[in-house]
């Protein structure tokens, strides 16, 4: 038949199956961990950091990616933001790849493909992870697994499952992963049992803070907290993972990547046969102008001030923000110089490269600090010009050992077992204390007066549940600042409005566009369901409360 012509450079559905090809579907599902972009980044920097008290949007001005400006200022946030739709869609692409792989795996027996169970565990881990991210962004999401036929996708509402049922679905994926993944992985990029335990702990922790329909935290479920503790114990006690000796090692490229604190990370690469390398495209905008482009993701003055420490090395919980941190006069937690670039200080530990005020694009609007964790030294071969942007292939850690420690500590405190949490928090602080080796100028002097004290009950603090809770939350902020979690923490704790309104009250003296900003309770805890998706669902999806 002269009209028979096959597709070129593509495969038909009869050509892809079988044990030989199934690894390809698994690999593609992992690959989607890095298939994001700066206006819908999987690191969630605009939604976790810029939307919180940790960071300003940055860039050339408020109009530069204006939707993020609106998200930052809680004004004019509409379901029509293309960035939200793109993020939603890209997460579902990742989910669909996991589902496709699960379907391909289901066609094989364990005889044909001995790794079947392990790979299924990996796929469910990845799917659980993507749903987790969607869940903290949008609260109510359509849940689709590999058993759903194509024709049914549009009949599944985002409110088909309750808030708690959604958490259970996510938890079930991680539980399956725990049951099937090995304790030691053959390939460094894959998920193992401990990663799944950590993510299940995180899921149970979020789930424990029960919310009503208006996003108010109404109860903290102790049963879930107990689970957090036991899951965290598995990771903390039985795994080969541990804290890095120096905080810095988590944010350095090359040999530092996949260190002992990195339980699960996105594996980026360069010089790998792709156009520019498989770079961290989500975070490319964070490079300051002196090194590249475009100076987004700027630490807030409030965050800078939060690193100030008292004479005994503890946070200045109540007075930290009354005046701006003065490096010459104040004691600071050394994590500030791992997290935040300050004019005159070293850029990424390079004694020959001092961060300059002139590297800032709009200092009048966004101040003079820059974010360090996602950045690399310009000398790194992993630093790639993707004109006009600059990406890098340094891995991004998704689950860090320190996180598991503080989840456990948080659960213990909420369970009233704050005494047990003290040691965990102090270990984090001790590591911070010890993380000053790379913070010396060429002349041997430290960049700041580093002073971190540990909490000693009855000596420098009164370790009550309330105090422990305050200390834990402070510790999380300092430890994970600019890593994409802050606003989600605030929502989990039910203190987004009070924290942000207090922040705006003072920060608007420094940042004029915060004038009038305020969080609306019962709306701003979550982002709106993208209007396009509601339209595609023909009104089946329900918009989040308040929008």
């Amino acid at each position: 038949n002269e009209l028979d012509m096959g597709p070129k450079a593509l495969l038909g559905d009869d050509q892809v199956g079988g044990a030989d090809n199934v690894d390809g579907f698994v690999t593609a599902a992992y690959s989607s961990l890095g298939n994001d972009h700066y206006d819908h980044p999987f690191s969630l920097w605009p939604f976790g950091n810029v939307r919180s008290d940790d960071a300003y949007k940055g860039g050339s001005g408020p109009a530069d990616i204006q939707d993020f400006h609106f998200i930052e200022t809680f004004s004019n946030v509409t379901p029509n933001f293309g960035e939200l739709d793109a993020l939603w869609y890209n997460y579902y692409i990742a989910i669909s790849r996991a589902n496709e792989a699960l379907n391909q795996l289901a066609l094989l027996s364990e005889e044909e493909y001995p790794e079947k169970k392990v790979r299924e565990g990996e796929m469910r881990f990845l799917r659980g992870y993507q749903y987790f991210q969607l869940k903290i962004m949008f609260k109510y999401i359509p849940y689709i697994d590999e058993t759903v036929p194509d024709s049914e996708y549009e009949n599944i509402s985002n409110v088909a499952l309750s808030n708690d049922e959604l958490w259970e679905k996510i938890a079930a994926d991680f539980q399956f992963a725990i049951d099937n993944l090995p304790v030691s992985k053959t390939d460094i990029g894959r998920a193992d049992k401990f990663a799944a335990q950590a993510m299940l702990a995180k899921t149970r922790l979020y789930q424990a803070y029960e919310q009503d329909d208006d996003n108010n935290v109404t109860n903290i479920n102790t049963g879930k907290l107990e689970e957090v503790v036991s899951l965290a114990n598995e990771v903390l006690n039985n795994s080969p993972y541990d804290l890095e000796a120096d905080f810095a090692y988590n944010f350095l490229p090359g040999d530092y990547e996949n260190g002992k604190e990195s339980i699960f990370a996105v594996q980026y690469s360069t010089d790998d046969g792709t156009m520019h390398g498989r770079l961290n495209f989500g975070d490319v905008l964070a490079v300051p102008m002196g090194l590249g482009c475009c100076d987004f993701h700027k630490p807030s003055q409030n965050l800078v001030n939060a690193y100030r420490t008292s004479a005994d090395g503890l946070p200045e919980f109540d007075t930290y923000n009354q005046s701006n941190l003065d490096f010459a006069a104040n004691n600071v937690d050394p994590r500030i110089d791992h997290t935040i670039a300050t004019p005159g200080h070293m850029w990424k530990y390079d004694q020959n490269l001092l961060y300059e005020e002139s590297w800032n694009r709009s200092p009048d609007v966004y101040g003079v600090h820059a974010s360090l964790k996602e950045n690399v030294s310009p000398d790194c071969p992993c630093f790639v010009n993707i004109d006009p942007f600059y990406g890098n292939s340094k891995n991004r850690i998704l689950v860090r050992y320190a996180d598991v420690m503080l989840w456990k500590a948080e659960a213990l405190i909420e369970l009233g077992r704050q005494a047990e949490a003290l040691e965990l928090i102090n270990r984090i602080r001790e590591r911070a204390q010890a993380s000053t080796e790379l913070l010396k100028f060429a002349n041997g002097s430290y960049m700041g007066n580093y002073l971190v004290g540990i909490y000693v009950d009855g000596v420098n603090c009164n370790w009550t549940q309330d105090f422990a809770r305050k200390a834990l939350r402070w510790e999380r902020r300092l430890e994970f600042a600019m890593e994409g979690s802050r606003y989600f923490d605030l929502v989990r704790w039910g203190i987004a409005k009070e924290t942000m309104d207090k922040y705006f009250m003072k920060e608007k003296e420094r940042i004029s566009y915060y004038e009038g900003s305020s969080v609306t309770k019962g709306r701003d805890e979550y982002l709106p369901i993208p209007q396009k998706q509601i339209n595609f669902s023909k009104g089946l999806y329900q918009q989040n409360v308040g929008y």
């Binding site: 298939n35 050339s60 001005g61 599944i156 594996q267």
Partner: protein, 1021 residues
């Protein structure tokens, strides 16, 4: 007795001339009526042949009235030919055959090719703009004219709306700018389905039939045409200079309550420091923008820097001849069009050889029409027009050394210096070689039974060597240089066979035709790139010289069509006309379930002027014809692979600069580099049930002519409905990857009216004139959409959608003026960010809040009507042509307003248009331009009526004055024609007062339309 003795033959000779001239007409057919005996006139219009002494000689020539003279034993017969304005005997090509114009029953527009050639353009189709009612041409000013789009009778489908071109029987969808306009003999536009459906599956958007010139019997003809023109950019966007930019910056910052001296755009202000009552004394800029003192603060006019007055030229030579044994035509053309944007240029070398040979006493004719075209173009690279608006005037083009590039610093936008983009791109031309034509054999074994076999080829080879140079331009820099080679080829062949038979008995005339056609297209491409060249020299930068990363890729695509068709025409008594066609098309693009589609059509005509009651009573009526047609056409413009479920390996995932990659490779082993494991992703979901998209069109037309065709015209009404429109609908995000699936879904209707009226007249013999006007209107409406995509084309997502509205209707907010007083502000609905001098958006649902629910339908991008007016006159060797073209009642989106009216709707670190200098302030409270602000807190960037403007215009497209030298002069020069002319294009524009931009034809950032002055010469000998 020898037979010949019975037939008394005598030798007759004579000369054929035109009215009022003793100039001979070469190539006139001189035939003894009722026989095959005949000849043609020679170069001087003279003939001689043997003819029966009692016979009648018939003199015929296209464009002239046929004359019959009885021989009556005369040995010398001289004839004066009269021009035939009726042109009803004119033969037009209408699809695998030709017909007398008088017998046409469909809506067919026959183009006056002379009018087209008088508008110099690289793309002959662009020159049709405004000439054909119902054919809507939009174009930009790019030197190749390749950005021209044609829409015949509205928008018929949601996918490709381009018409089908059939050049000498070879179908093609694109690349008309590769054709030499001077080679064109005729253009016919088949607008309705009854005439187009013979082309079946590709005819739904109309068919444009082009035939190229052939040699004419008579004598060797040599034609030489040359012109040269200059063009310039007349309607440059008015952007701010350095001083104006500073004052607008100051204003926006004080309006926002920010210290204006805290900006990072290199400006400092001497002002009173009172935010409540600000006043500006002086604007200060540093001598240098950068610490290294390489960039002097300047006052660059970026539009001047990117544009140029360009010079273009065209030369065309053709030689043709025809004898009893065949004819040939050879032509050679050269065109060099410089663009009005620096470095852009289009050149074309075209050669054509059309020939045919008559064998076996003319019973067999073999021949070919073949062209070789080489085009070369430097396109406008991305970011130039937009960059010329945005680049801050303080930035110098070059650094102080005159070599390095100026570029943005500090808070300025991250866009490139547009001059650098142009200059670093100037070597990046592409070459396209196109071999196009057909080889045919015509056999007439029995009188009136004709067999034709034609093999058409369309073979294109594209080559581009693209070098990307390293640069440093302000804070933008890239040290990597790179070369990319692109090569692609597309091979199309079409083999058609037709058998036709004509039969005439008494007053009945029949012709019947049947045929088959096979079409196949294969496209292949590959590219290779390499980085790191030690020297950035054009002669050095080839892949072999690279030392860095190398990459490559390639793919192919293929499809085929198999078709069977038939046609029957019937004419009774030259009064009643009928025609029917049927086509059966199969396409490889459809699944097995619906591979073939059937496309029938019929039409009837009534030549009322042939009726006695007209002939007897209304002698002034020279033509009156009613036409009715109905037909079905198809569309298969979908992806070649549309029916398949597909998977791909997408190792790299595409260019990640402006969108997320969708790669399938992953560094599973944590090595950070090296070859990665890669997998598969789903591309799309197949659909075995895909079937042809079909359009049914009904046409009712009337043609008229009065006073011996001095007044002439026609009116056509059409109704066109398309169903099963092939769409690739967007899909719910939860599906993730692979949700793309081609389906038959939507339906659409177009209804319209086309009118053409003309008058030819003369005052005395020396002054002749012609006025022809055309007018067309259509309305479009979507009548059905699958539920899955009903919200894809605007609307609120629930109950308000595009159904029963024109496609591409605009949906948005209503901008209801500015807030001018506190009372207005207090009385208005809740609207985050509102304030004095800010846009008030209408609270359409009156619920006290301006939100998504307050959007409505705010624009229709379909014109109310389009029109053209052509005026030509001749007087004693002078000829004058003026052509006006316009559209009315069209809504366009004036994107420039985002830059021209606001400080922060687009990014604030960019230059803007001067309109915003008149922005609202308490002192300038009557302005309709919102107050300047450093943050778009009122969200004025939302799509609203503020950006929708009336894009109607009328343009004087062409005005041409020519002078043909009198015979006395050209005889001395041994020429048969010498004409000089000067013409202008786009000389004058009238636009709506409501349009705030410069060129409503080009409201965004397309290639600007130039003003052009041409001088040229036409020579024949």
């Amino acid at each position: 007795v020898p037979l010949h003795a019975l037939a008394q033959t005598i030798n007759v000779s004579g000369k054929v001339t035109m009215v009022n001239s003793d100039e001979g007409i070469p190539g006139v057919s001189v035939v003894e009526k009722g026989s095959v005996n005949g000849t043609v006139t020679d170069i001087n219009g003279q003939y001689t042949f043997e003819v029966s002494a009692t016979g009648t000689i018939q003199f015929s020539f296209v464009g002239f009235k046929t004359q019959e003279i009885p021989v009556n034993g005369l040995s010398s017969v001289n004839v004066v030919m009269e021009e035939d304005f009726q042109q009803l005997d004119q033969v037009v090509v209408t699809g695998y055959q030709s017909q007398r114009k008088a017998d046409l029953t469909g809506a067919v527009s026959v183009i006056d090719v002379d009018e087209i050639v008088s508008t110099p353009s690289a793309n002959p189709i662009k020159s049709l703009q405004g000439h054909v009612p119902g054919m809507f041409v939009t174009s930009d000013g790019s030197p190749s004219g390749s950005g021209t789009t044609i829409r015949i009778r509205g928008i018929g489908t949601l996918n490709n709306n381009d018409p089908l071109y059939v050049i000498d029987g070879v179908p093609t969808k694109a690349g008309m700018h590769e054709l030499n306009p001077n080679d064109i003999e005729s253009i016919q536009v088949l607008k309705d389905a009854s005439s187009a459906s013979i082309y079946g599956s590709r005819a739904a958007n109309g068919v444009i039939i082009v035939t190229t010139k052939k040699g004419k019997k008579g004598k060797i003809q040599v034609n030489l045409n040359a012109y040269s023109n200059i063009s310039w950019y007349d309607n440059k966007i008015d952007v701010m200079n350095a001083e104006q930019y500073g004052s607008a910056l100051w204003r926006s910052l004080v309006n926002t309550g920010t210290d204006p001296n805290s900006n990072n755009l290199s400006y400092q202000f001497d002002w009173n420091g009172d935010l409540a009552n600000p006043s500006l004394n002086k604007i200060l800029v540093p001598k240098f923008l950068d610490a290294n003192q390489t960039m002097k603060a300047s006052d660059t006019d970026w539009f001047d820097e990117v544009s140029q007055t360009s010079v273009s030229q065209s030369y065309d030579l053709s030689v043709s001849n025809g004898t009893d044994k065949g004819s040939y035509l050879f032509s050679l053309g050269y065109l060099d069009n410089q663009g009005i944007i620096k470095t852009t240029e289009f050149t074309r070398v075209s050669a054509r050889m059309n020939s045919n040979y008559e064998l076996a006493d003319g019973k067999v004719v073999i021949g070919e029409n073949f062209s070789f075209n080489q085009t070369n173009e430097v396109n406008i690279p991305g970011g130039v027009m937009d960059g010329a608006v945005r680049a801050v005037p303080l930035i110098p083009v070059h650094t102080v050394d005159g070599i390095g590039w100026g570029g943005p610093v500090g808070g300025m936008n991250d866009r490139q210096n547009p001059v650098r983009i142009l200059q670093n791109n100037k070597q990046n031309d592409y070459d396209y070689i196109r071999l196009f034509g057909n080889f045919f054999v015509d056999v007439e074994p029995v009188k009136n039974l004709k067999f034709r076999s034609s093999l058409g080829i369309d073979y294109g080879i594209y080559d581009a060597l693209n070098s990307q140079l390293s640069y440093s331009s302000g804070y933008l820099k890239n040290e990597t240089n790179m070369v990319t080679n692109n090569h692609s080829s597309n091979k199309k062949i079409v083999w058609s066979n037709t058998l036709s038979y004509e039969y005439e008995v008494d007053n009945h005339r029949f012709d019947i035709m049947a045929g088959s056609e096979f079409y196949k297209q294969k496209d292949e491409s590959f590219w290779a790139s390499a980085q790191d060249f030690a020297v950035e020299d054009e002669d050095y930068m080839y892949l072999d010289a690279a030392t860095g990363k190398k990459d490559n890729g390639g793919s192919a695509a293929e499809y085929a069509l198999m078709s069977y068709f038939g046609k029957m025409n019937y004419v009774y008594n030259d009064k009643y006309l009928a025609s029917a066609t049927l086509r059966y098309d199969g396409s490889s693009r459809f699944g097995n379930n619906n591979q073939y589609g059937l496309f029938p059509a019929f039409s009837v005509g009534w030549r009322i002027n042939q009726e006695d009651f007209i002939k007897d009573n209304l002698k002034s009526v020279s033509n009156l014809k009613l036409r009715f047609g109905w037909g079905k056409t198809g569309n298969q413009e979908i992806d070649n692979n549309a029916t398949y479920s597909l998977y791909q390996t997408n190792y790299g995932g595409g260019d990640p600069t402006w969108r997320s990659p969708n790669g399938t490779a992953y560094d599973m082993y944590g090595q950070g580099t090296g070859t990665l494991p890669s997998g598969y992703s789903v591309v799309q979901t197949g659909n075995d049930d895909l079937k042809w998209e079909t359009t049914i069109q009904t046409n009712l037309g009337i043609d008229f002519g009065l006073f011996d065709q001095k007044l002439f015209g026609g009116v056509d009404y059409f109704f066109k409905s398309t169903k099963d429109i092939l769409i690739l609908p967007g899909y719910i995000g939860a599906i993730g990857e692979g949700g793309s699936r081609w389906v038959n879904g939507a339906s659409m209707e177009n209804e319209g009216l086309e009118v053409l009226v003309g008058y030819r007249g003369s005052l005395k013999e020396e002054f002749k004139f012609e006025i022809a006007a055309n007018f067309a209107t259509y309305s479009n409406k979507i009548t059905k959409l699958p539920l899955a995509v009903v919200n894809d084309y605007g609307g609120n997502g629930s109950d308000d959608n595009i159904l029963n509205r024109p496609i591409n209707s605009m949906y948005g907010y209503v901008a209801d003026g500015l807030f001018r007083t506190q009372e207005e502000l207090d009385a208005s609905a809740e609207q985050p960010g509102k304030g004095l001098g800010r846009i008030r958006f209408a609270d359409l649902d009156n619920n006290g809040v301006v939100d998504d629910a307050d959007r409505t339908w705010i624009g229709n991008p379909h014109p109310d009507f389009t029109y053209g007016l052509n005026i030509s006159a001749e007087f004693k060797g002078f000829d004058l042509t003026m052509f006006f073209q316009g559209i009315a009642g069209i809504d366009v989106i004036n994107d420039m307003k985002r830059q021209g009216d606001f400080w922060s709707v687009d990014d604030a670190g960019s230059n803007k248009g001067t309109r915003l200098l008149n922005a609202w302030t308490p002192e300038n409270s009557n302005s309709s331009i919102p107050a300047l602000t450093n943050t778009d807190a009122n969200w004025e960037g939302r799509f609203s009526t503020y950006y929708v403007e009336n894009g109607g215009y009328m343009k004087l497209r062409t005005a041409q004055l020519g002078y043909s030298f009198p015979k006395s002069v050209i005889d001395r020069l041994k020429l048969s024609k010498l004409r000089l002319y000067v013409s202008g294009q786009n000389l004058w524009t009238i636009k709506s007062k409501k349009f705030t931009g410069l060129d409503p034809e080009n409201p965004s950032f397309g290639y600007p339309n130039p003003v052009m002055i041409t001088t040229g010469v036409n020579v024949a000998f």
